[in-house]
């Protein structure tokens, strides 16, 4: 570690330049976060990249900091890509500043480069802790380690048991039902068909304890056992009202996890479920809040186990760290409901006319469905998120710029799906159009030529353009026919000899053993700080010698630490909700967008995407007559083609 300073003096000019740039960027970005750095040494430092949001755990960071001097306080704000350290003495801070700038911290499999700057004072806006949902209770140490082992032993996952207990291997977890089978296709139980295997005997004393302690007053008659490996999860859902009575009891065994509860108004409460704890869901927490487990391998949890007798500081979570997940098995006990539900939450109640719980949209089966899906899950979302979206789309992608600048000046160019006009500024010959009025207004305010229109019906004369671009547009069409129609419409605009450049999001986010930036930008904050965190992570990538092109494709602001898989599709045609910054698990999906707002009450919007597999875009374009695919390539998580149009 001491050698770091001398290493630096050996650095080439180029490396120094990169470092300077990185520091500069960090400073600017930190200003965006409201953190002022100072050149004067103080006792406190901000450590850029050394945050929970970058996958750095408190333990890992503490270890290197302590070598510099006695640490008074280490503050790691949730999801942020930075941390604050205060040393007992200024000397410690000086030492850290001198030795740890540019230090590569090994975190699990990846190495993270730290950049430190002095700060006058440590203040950070930490997320106020959300109180537990109404009706939710967590009872720690509900079963003993012996009972835990016994219960885990009861479950025989061998397939021969399947016929008596109903067992399924869902994409991201193993599930087994006792008493009655919960059918994921209908989101309900077949109440007339009890399973041959009732609840295991070993459960009886546990359930009696639940009754004795007043957690429930009826004995459950249905048990669902879920087994989650590290990295697996369950999509957010409300247990079907008409299927089960009020109280739901869930035992966590084997390992802890974090369960997220979401209120329809946008509130989110993350609840740590320690092993051997009992979760009791009643009332609002059972009927109105959805609950789910984000598939990931690492959770953000309080650094010390919360003690019931310790007074908690409301609103302060200064002791967060990361916890790696193990294999967790949950036993969920429910009582089958035989009468319609009369709960006080009709908006979420299938007995009272609400659609069955969180059905979500399905892949369209006819053109009208497709148009409706795109209207709700593309157009409306863009019009709502337009200004925030625009804030995140400031840097044109270099290869698109290269295409535009390779065209002779005076060309007639159209950007079909121009968004906020990112490329309209690159080439003055461009005219843009977009489906979203709100985005076109942003273009107009910037002085660009743009109008509102649909990519399937562009009001430009046939054969009027020398070139067209369609960047990140065609993946929003929900059927193959409509995607083809979009390419045809683009080609219709071309003069003979004209060219078109098309970018669509790729299913393959890892190409030539390189992860796309979309995947690399892990651990982002959910309230729009990603633009700055991306810059940080991008800058840090520079040092690892990678080609830096652009602030990434598809800057979805993810809200979850995520080196894990996405949420799977349950066995029906419903579209799955993608977990931001993870590999895709299906080609048709909904991608969440979290509006900037800093409050957990901001709702989440979902955009429909069809992500393209390798070769699919070329195949699509080959169906258009007169078109030759001049070149095709993978660029930052996108499949891209340059088309050449000639007279047929």
């Amino acid at each position: 570690m001491k050698s770091d300073l001398s290493t630096e003096s050996r650095k080439s000019k180029e490396e120094k330049k990169v470092l300077r740039k990185q520091l500069k960027a960090s400073h600017t970005l930190l200003k965006h976060e409201g953190v002022c750095t100072t050149p004067q040494p103080t006792k406190s430092l901000v450590i850029a990249n050394g945050g929970l949001g970058n996958g750095v755990s408190r333990e890992e960071l503490t270890a290197v900091l302590q070598e510099m001097g006695e640490v008074e306080k280490l503050l790691m704000p949730p999801h942020k890509p930075y941390a604050f350290v205060t040393f007992r003495s200024e000397d410690g801070a000086r030492k850290a500043h001198a030795n740890l700038n540019g230090w590569k911290l090994q975190c699990g499999e990846s190495s993270i480069t730290l950049y430190l700057s002095y700060v006058d004072s440590v203040k950070c806006k930490e997320g106020a802790s959300v109180p537990l949902p109404e009706g939710l209770a967590l009872v720690e140490h509900f079963v003993s380690p012996e009972e835990e082992a016994q219960l885990l032993n009861v479950i025989d996952w061998s397939p021969t048991q399947g016929d008596v207990t109903a067992q399924k291997s869902l994409k991201h977890r193993r599930v087994k039902h006792y008493g009655f089978e919960f059918r994921y296709d209908i989101n309900n139980v077949d109440k007339d068909k009890p399973l041959a295997a009732g609840l295991p005997d070993e459960c009886v004393p546990i359930l009696q304890r639940c009754v004795e302690q007043g957690h429930t007053n009826v004995l459950p008659d249905q048990l669902t056992v879920n087994q989650y490996e590290s990295g697996q999860g369950i999509p957010p859902h409300v247990d079907t009202h008409s299927a089960f009575e009020d109280t739901i009891l869930s035992l966590s065994l084997g390992a802890k996890t974090v369960m997220e509860f979401r209120h329809p108004d946008g509130r989110v409460a993350a609840v740590v479920l320690p092993e051997r704890s009992l979760l009791v869901m009643k009332g609002e927490s059972r009927y109105l809040w959805s609950h789910g487990i984000t598939p990931r391998k690492v959770d953000m949890v309080p650094a010390e186990a919360p003690r019931a007798d310790a007074p908690t500081e409301p609103g302060i979570q200064s002791n967060l760290t990361l916890s790696r997940r193990g294999t967790r098995t949950s036993f969920t006990f429910r009582k089958i409901r035989h009468e319609p539900c009369h709960c006080a939450f009709p908006s979420a109640c299938d007995s009272q006319g609400a659609p069955s719980p969180s059905p979500g949209p399905s892949l369209p089966s006819c053109p009208a469905d497709a148009a409706r899906l795109e209207e709700e899950y593309v157009h409306r979302v863009y019009s709502t998120i337009a200004s925030h979206f625009s804030d995140t789309r400031h840097t044109p992608w270099p290869r698109v710029c290269h295409f535009l600048s390779s065209l002779p000046s005076g060309s007639v160019l159209a950007d079909v799906g121009c968004g906020n006009g990112k490329y309209l500024g690159v080439n003055a010959d461009l005219v843009g159009c977009d489906r979203s009025t709100a985005l076109v207004q942003i273009c107009a305010a910037r002085g660009y030529h743009a109008f509102v229109s649909d990519a399937l019906s562009v009001p430009l004369r046939t054969a009027s353009c020398d070139a067209c671009i369609s960047i990140a547009v065609i993946h929003h069409f929900s059927t193959a026919e409509r995607r083809l129609a979009a390419v045809k419409e683009l080609v219709r605009l071309l003069k003979p000899g004209g060219q078109a450049l098309i970018y669509v999001w790729a299913f393959e986010q890892e190409y030539n053993k390189q992860k796309s930036k979309y995947l690399k930008q892990i651990f982002k904050e959910d309230h729009g700080e990603f633009s700055s965190t991306n810059l940080l992570s991008e800058k840090s990538q520079k040092s690892s010698g990678e080609k830096v092109s652009d602030l990434s494709c598809h800057l979805e602001n993810s809200h979850k630490p995520s080196d894990m898989q996405g949420v799977s599709r349950v066995p029906d045609a419903r579209l799955s909700v993608h977990t931001n910054r993870t590999a895709f698990t299906s080609q048709d999906l909904l991608v969440p967008w979290h509006l900037k707002g800093g409050k957990s009450t901001v709702p989440v919007f979902h955009r429909y995407y069809h992500v393209f597999q390798q070769g699919e875009l070329e195949h699509l374009c080959a169906q258009v007559s007169g078109v030759k695919v001049k070149s095709s390539y993978h660029d930052q998580g996108n499949w891209c083609v340059v088309l050449h149009f000639s007279i047929i």
């Binding site: 053109p367 009208a368 148009a371 000046s409 005076g410 007639v412 159209a414 003055a428 005219v431 159009c433 489906r435 009025t437 076109v440 207004q441 107009a444 030529h449 743009a450 109008f451 509102v452 229109s453 649909d454 399937l456 019906s457 562009v458 009001p459 430009l460 004369r461 009027s464």
Partner: protein
């Protein structure tokens, strides 16, 4: 909407064969002062539908004395290029609508932005 954009737009209503040029019905027009770039104007001119531009300028009352036929050697004619610059880039329709010459379908222009969306069935 600048007249450069208007020059490119056409009606795309289903079944329409002669949707160009769109008629402009303006209720608010403004003129912006923009830097004159003779090279840009010169290289745009051959790309334009000249007649449609002159007609649009006429309708809005900004034709100046632009000829119905494009003149030769306009590249050297700075005075001419300035006039084209004015109608092409400085005149902007802020409110009003564009009307399809064949079907009569109108497309609103609001805050300078033409909205050319059609319903799914007349697309």
């Amino acid at each position: 909407m600048k007249l450069l954009t208007h020059n490119m737009l056409t009606s795309h209503v289903k079944g329409v064969t002669k949707g160009y040029p769109l008629l402009i019905k303006a209720t608010e027009v403004k003129v912006n002062q923009l830097d004159f770039n003779p090279q840009f104007v010169s290289r745009m001119i051959p790309k334009l539908e000249w007649g449609a531009l002159v007609q649009a300028a006429e309708d809005l009352g900004y034709r100046q004395d632009l000829p119905g036929e494009l003149i030769a050697d306009y590249e050297q004619n700075e005075e001419f290029l300035k006039k084209v610059h004015r109608v092409l880039l400085e005149v902007e329709v802020m409110e009003g609508c564009l009307k399809c010459p064949e079907s009569g379908r109108e497309f609103p222009i609001t805050k300078g932005i033409p909205n050319m969306l059609l319903n799914e069935d007349d697309a």
